[in-house]
């Protein structure tokens, strides 16, 4: 009689990569609904395009690399990458922009570096930054909230806009679009309009950030907290990103409120919330020690602020994440926890 002799441990917990990825997607659902409520069908269309492209590229790369296709294709990681990328692309952006970004994320940023677990950069952010640098105009045409519902911009109309670039008679993309709050403050400051003046002159500002954006931020925050509760992500990175962004913004805000936006505005604007809970926490490219995660998160928070306030782009999360990705191995090396029985230093 032959007995099986596997090595210990003989039991395993029920967490799997697929389950983690599914939970990340679940946590994004409230934010997706909120986003669609304020900005129309665009995100869902972009997400669908991105997911289909990403799965196709994943399949292709797994075939080329002679990896077990079904096994990796169903781990869910590529879907998360695609959905996060879709969040960063304007709602009425042409379809090929999304396809390009998703393909770059999966083929170059993920598979050319060795696939799942080996990519030094966050694939979604790599795809986003490539689009932002290559097509800055297309990537900065955002919509004001509710404009599409006011105009009765239905799903077929949105599809027409995304795939054919055709808009209802009398409208152009430029006419529909409006600057985001971050962008607006930045451009107005450059022509010496104070923040208070900008806010009172434009109706897009809500309580903290922009109307709509702050609500999406709320839902992302709740989804993120649920992920922490479910132990899919640890609290260190989101707390460090938001905490450092808030602190730095507070210091400058207290110094000069006319030229520096409030800390709450920074936290609830742009991709700060999404970046803190869903992008910077991508485990593969982030720092992995508890202390390292905090350092890594602080780095992202500060860099985001620096790029937003003094850089050339209205938002800085994408660049900040990629820059800190570069530093992650070094951070890990210098933040090893003390091991049991070793001297406290």
């Amino acid at each position: 009689m032959k007995l099986n002799t596997p090595a210990s441990p003989h039991v395993h917990g029920d967490t799997t990569v697929r389950k983690m990825m599914l939970r990340v997607l679940l946590a994004l659902i409230p934010a997706i609904i909120a986003y669609s409520w304020f900005f129309g069908w665009g995100l869902l269309i972009n997400a669908t395009i991105a997911v289909v492209t990403a799965l196709g590229c994943e399949y292709l790369m797994l075939k080329l690399r002679e990896r077990p296709v079904n096994f990796f294709l169903t781990d869910g990681s590529v879907v998360v990458t695609a959905v996060l990328l879709a969040f960063c692309i304007p709602p009425l952006a042409p379809w090929w922009l999304t396809v390009l970004g998703a393909a770059f994320a999966v083929i170059v940023a993920k598979h050319l570096y060795g696939g799942l677990g080996y990519n030094p950069f966050n694939p979604a952010m790599a795809g986003y930054v490539v689009l932002l640098i290559s097509f800055p105009r297309d990537m900065s045409i955002w919509l004001p909230p509710f404009i599409l519902s006011e105009l009765d911009f239905s799903l077929p109309a949105t599809l027409n806009a995304v795939f054919l670039g055709v808009f209802p008679t009398g409208y152009t993309l430029d006419a529909l679009s409006a600057a985001t709050p971050l962008d607006l403050i930045k451009t107005q400051l450059s022509i010496d309009v104070t923040i208070a003046e900008t806010k009172s002159a434009h109706a897009i500002f809500g309580d903290f950030g922009g109307i709509g954006w702050e609500w999406i931020g709320n839902w992302i925050f709740l989804g993120g907290v649920w992920l922490i509760y479910k132990k899919v992500i640890s609290w260190h990175i989101p707390a460090a990103v938001l905490g450092s962004l808030f602190t730095v913004a507070l210091i400058f805000y207290l110094k000069d409120a006319d030229h520096y936006a409030s800390p709450m505005f920074h936290v609830f604007s742009g991709a700060a919330m999404l970046g803190a809970f869903f992008i910077a926490t991508d485990p593969v490219s982030a720092a992995t020690t508890p202390m390292g995660r905090i350092v890594y998160g602080i780095g992202i928070g500060i860099l985001t602020y620096v790029i937003r306030v003094w850089g050339g782009y209205p938002d800085g999360i994408g660049f900040a994440v990629l820059l800190m990705n570069l530093a992650a191995p070094t951070i890990d090396y210098y933040t090893q926890p003390r091991v049991y029985g070793h001297k406290r230093s």
Binding site: N4, H10, H12, V17, D75, P283, A286, T288, P337, H342
Partner: protein
């Protein structure tokens, strides 16, 4: 007063599966046909057999004596005849057989003289207690099997605290729990003996908070024994709270130094099973020949049995209603740190606490690892679970890359192989296997290095010896020469030569033999010689160099 507890880092919460085997009382095993006693059941050197095949042995009789100071004797678990002393399958991860004493039982269960006789323990001195514990073959019954008397020696007075480990944190294992349920008073008596052997007062008894019944029983036993120095502490149910290092941390906040022993911080830990065995050995002169073992998993009746050491595992499985023909996996120990047996004919040993059975028909609900693992996604769940504070993901990375220097920089050898990292890994990577592999490879490298160091030293000594011998030889020669030189001056030499010539001359004069040399030649002989000389000369002329022509300018003339 409540003791302040310190949480150790990490750990995991596991499904306990303890109710099945604790719902019925402890059973006795039917006597097996054969008892198989491996000579190596403890840490240290194997025991040396002192019986021969064919010899009749009695229950409690020593059949193998301690190999040296770090070893333990082995006793016959029942009466019978020694069949053989030979290699037999044993419970070892390698699956390699080892030397065992095999006894055919005779069913009489006849005990050796003095076995089971109550003794007065109060008169025994520290040394006598220790000697008796050593002679009873008691080793750590919690799993490691370190000879117990070594952990009860306290001549240097370094040990100040005795911790009694009743935590039993692995799922399924319940033997210590059932022992505390049935013999709480004996355990307290055993603890008193240990306190006396160590010459200390302070003792802490730790029990996990999922065993309230046993906690209460122990509390009563302490109260009845009137031993106020014993402190009973309830610790949280987190795996691996029962690990020695983790338990010490939980109770005292102190950490055992890396690569060190609890003794280094004045603490010694013993298992409740060991304590009970000590009580039986000292108070009733019963050496360690049986212990409680949990049989659980795919058996009709999971329960704790009082098992004779040396009983084949298959015998226990059958007794609990398991089907030997459908076995798929038999684990000795718990599901987290136990190892799978290669053969169910292997006997239980002193350190066996649990037999966990899997069958192909009704597999125990063990959610086991899938056969494929995804790459590490560096999620850090392993680092959060590690009770030692290691970075398992980095260890894995370097172990896989065979970077053995780096893996040691990340403190591989502080890993206790508890399996927490492996359990929580979402990529289902067999992490512990990688660490075992790396440890083994490093040990092997170090062995090889030691061997090459030895041979290099040998070679260097060889060279040194050759050099030394050469010098010695030269010295000897020099001394001899000096001895000769010192005796003769220049005049002496001349005189010696003179004397020698004189001797030769005298010898010649007195000799009858005419020497056949060139002094007295006949004319004919002279002539022959001259002819021969002429011929030789002629031949030489012919061979003169100028007659040999060597064409050195051949090429140029062409």
């Amino acid at each position: 007063m409540m003791r302040r507890l310190y949480n150790f880092a990490g750990g995991v919460r596991l499904k306990e599966h303890k109710r099945e085997s604790t719902s019925s009382p402890v059973g006795r095993t039917q006597l097996p046909q054969k008892i198989i006693l491996p000579l190596h059941q403890h840490i240290g050197v194997p025991a040396k057999p002192i019986v021969n095949a064919g010899e009749r042995v009695l229950k409690g009789q020593v059949v193998a004596e301690a190999g040296n100071n770090i070893s333990a004797p082995i006793h016959a678990s029942t009466s019978g005849t020694v069949l053989a002393i030979e290699d037999h399958p044993i419970a070892h991860p390698s699956g390699l057989p080892a030397r065992c004493i095999i006894i055919k039982t005779d069913g009489k269960d006849e005990a050796a003289g003095g076995y089971g006789a109550p003794c007065d323990t109060s008169a025994l001195t520290q040394e006598q207690l220790n000697a008796a514990i050593k002679q009873a073959g008691i080793v750590g019954l919690g799993g490691a099997g370190f000879p117990t008397y070594l952990k009860l020696a306290n001549e240097a007075k370094k040990i100040t605290t005795l911790i009694l480990n009743g935590v039993e944190c692995e799922p399924y294992i319940t033997c210590d729990q059932m022992l505390m349920r049935g013999h709480s008073a004996d355990i307290v008596r055993g603890l008193v003996i240990m306190q006396r052997a160590l010459g200390i007062k302070r003792a802490i008894i730790a029990i996990e908070n999922n065993k309230p019944k046993e906690l209460e029983l122990m509390q009563e036993a302490i109260y009845e024994a009137g031993t106020p120095d014993m402190e009973l502490v309830q610790v949280p149910t987190v795996y691996p709270a029962g690990g020695e290092k983790q338990l010490i941390q939980t109770l005292t906040g102190k950490e055992v130094p890396s690569q060190g022993l609890p003794m280094d911080i004045g603490i010694v830990c013993h298992n409740v099973g060991t304590t009970y065995a000590i009580y039986r050995a000292i108070a009733f002169n019963e050496p360690l020949i049986s212990r409680y073992i949990t049989i659980a998993g795919s058996v009709a009746k999971a329960q704790v049995l009082d098992v004779l050491i040396g009983t084949p595992v298959s015998h226990l499985i059958e007794q609990c209603g398991g089907n030997r023909k459908t076995l798929s996996r038999v684990i000795m120990g718990g599901p987290m740190m136990g190892f799978a047996l290669h053969d169910d004919e292997a006997p239980v040993v002193k350190t066996t606490n649990c037999i966990l059975v899997n069958s192909v028909i009704s597999d125990v609900p063990l959610p086991s690892r899938s056969n494929f693992s995804l790459p590490c996604i560096r999620c850090g769940a392993c680092a959060d679970a590690c009770p030692v504070g290691l970075l398992p993901q980095q260890l894995y990375w370097y172990a896989r890359a065979r970077d053995f220097d780096k893996v040691q920089d990340y403190n591989l050898f502080d890993c206790i192989e508890c399996g927490c990292c492996d359990y929580v890994c979402p990529s289902q990577i067999p992490l512990v296997q990688y660490y075992r592999y790396a440890k083994t490879a490093i040990w092997q490298q170090e062995n090889e290095k030691t061997l090459s160091d030895i041979s290099r030293q040998r070679h260097e000594f060889h060279k040194f010896r050759q050099e030394r011998e050469k010098q010695e030889r030269e010295l000897r020669h020099k001394q001899k020469r000096q001895a000769v030189d010192g005796a003769s001056t220049q005049d002496n030499k001349k005189a010696a030569i003179q004397a020698a010539m004189e001797r030769v001359r005298r010898k010649r004069e007195h000799s009858d033999v005419t020497p056949k040399n060139i002094d007295n030649l006949t004319e004919q002989q002279q002539k022959l010689i001259e002819e021969a000389d002429a011929r030789r000369k002629k031949k030489l002329e012919e061979l003169k160099p100028e007659k040999i022509t060597i064409n050195t300018s051949g090429r140029e003339s062409e």
